[in-house]
C-alpha cells in the first residue's frame, strides 16, 4: 500500500472575496448548486488543470443543467447527472483547446511498463503545495485515468455509476483504476 505524507497546505486561489449570497431565481436550483458546486468545480479544476477555465466550465455546466431540468427524470442521482454534463463539457473543451499534449499515447500497456516498479510503499515528506503537485501529476496521466481517479475520489459514486459515466463495464473500471493508481503514484513520486 502506498503511503503519501504531505503538509496540508490550503489551496491558494486568486479569486475575489465573498460578495454575499446570491438571490436565486429558483431556490431549488440554488440548493442544488450549494450541495454540488464544490465537487463539480473540483472535477473541472483538476480535469482541465486551470482555475479560470474551471470556473467558466462550472458556470456553463450549471447553466446547462438549469436549461435541461425539464429533461431530468430522476433515473440517476442529481450529482451523477451533473457529473455527466461536466465530463462532456470538459472533454469538448479539451478537444477544442488541444491543451493536453503532455501524454500523447494513452495505451494502457505503456503505462503498465512505466509504473511496474511502484508496488512497494512510498513515503514522501514535506509537500508545501499539494494541490500544484497533484495537478502536475494528473496532467501527465492519460485523460481516462485522470477522470477515473477523480470520480472514484467522490465516495458518493458507486463503481456502477462510474462505469455508466465513463461508458464501460464496472470490471473495466476496476482494472483501469488499478493501473491509474499505479500511474499516479509513479508520477507523484517524480515531483518529490
Amino acid at each position: 500500500m502506498a503511503t503519501f505524507v504531505s503538509t496540508a497546505a490550503p489551496v491558494q486561489t486568486d479569486f475575489p472575496p465573498t460578495t454575499g449570497r446570491p438571490k436565486w431565481e429558483s431556490p431549488e436550483f440554488g440548493a442544488i448548486y450549494e450541495e454540488h458546486s464544490r465537487q463539480i468545480f473540483y472535477l473541472a479544476l483538476r480535469f482541465l488543470g486551470d482555475p479560470t477555465q474551471a470556473e467558466d466550465a462550472t458556470h456553463d455546466v450549471f447553466l446547462k443543467a438549469y436549461r435541461k431540468l425539464g429533461e431530468f427524470r430522476g433515473e440517476s442521482a442529481v450529482r451523477t447527472w451533473l457529473y455527466r454534463i461536466t465530463i462532456n463539457h470538459c472533454k469538448n473543451l479539451l478537444q477544442t483547446w488541444h491543451q493536453r499534449h503532455l501524454v500523447n499515447n494513452n495505451e494502457d500497456s505503456l503505462w503498465e511498463n512505466a509504473v511496474a516498479g511502484t508496488e512497494s510503499p512510498l513515503r514522501v515528506l514535506e509537500i508545501k503545495e499539494l494541490g500544484q503537485r497533484i495537478q502536475k501529476t494528473l496532467d501527465l496521466l492519460p485523460e481516462e485515468y485522470r477522470l477515473l481517479l477523480l470520480l472514484v475520489a467522490d465516495q458518493q459514486l458507486s463503481y456502477d455509476e462510474i462505469a455508466t459515466l465513463t461508458e464501460q463495464s464496472a470490471d473495466a473500471v476496476r482494472g483501469k483504476l488499478h493501473r491509474a493508481r499505479k500511474a499516479f503514484i509513479a508520477q507523484f513520486q517524480k515531483f518529490a
Binding site: 500500500m1 496540508a8 479569486f15 464544490r38 468545480f41 483538476r46 470556473e55 431540468l69 503514484i185 507523484f188
Partner: protein, 79 residues
C-alpha cells in the same frame, strides 16, 4: 546545575518540539483517491461564481417545473 546537562535538556526539548510540529504538519494518504478527496476538501469554489450562475439563470426563460422541483417544494415549507 550542570551546564552540560542543561544544554542537553534544551537540545532534547527543541528536537521534541520540532518533531511534534512536523507530525502536526504531515498528513498521510493511503491511496491517490484519498489524497484527491483531501485536496477537494481544501479547494474552495470561487465565491463570486454562485452569483454569476444565479445571474445567468435569472436571464433564462422560465420553464415548466420538473418532478424534482415539485418534490423539493413539498419538502421545503418556505419555498
Amino acid at each position: 546545575m550542570n551546564p552540560k546537562s542543561s544544554k542537553l535538556q534544551q537540545q532534547q526539548k527543541q528536537e521534541t518540539t520540532e518533531a511534534t510540529a512536523s507530525q502536526q504538519m504531515a498528513r498521510e494518504f493511503a491511496s491517490p483517491e484519498e489524497m484527491l478527496r483531501h485536496d477537494a476538501g481544501q479547494t474552495e469554489v470561487p465565491p463570486a461564481l454562485a452569483r454569476r450562475v444565479a445571474e445567468s439563470v435569472a436571464q433564462e426563460p422560465r420553464h415548466a417545473r420538473s418532478w424534482w422541483q415539485r418534490w423539493f417544494s413539498r419538502r421545503s415549507p418556505d419555498s
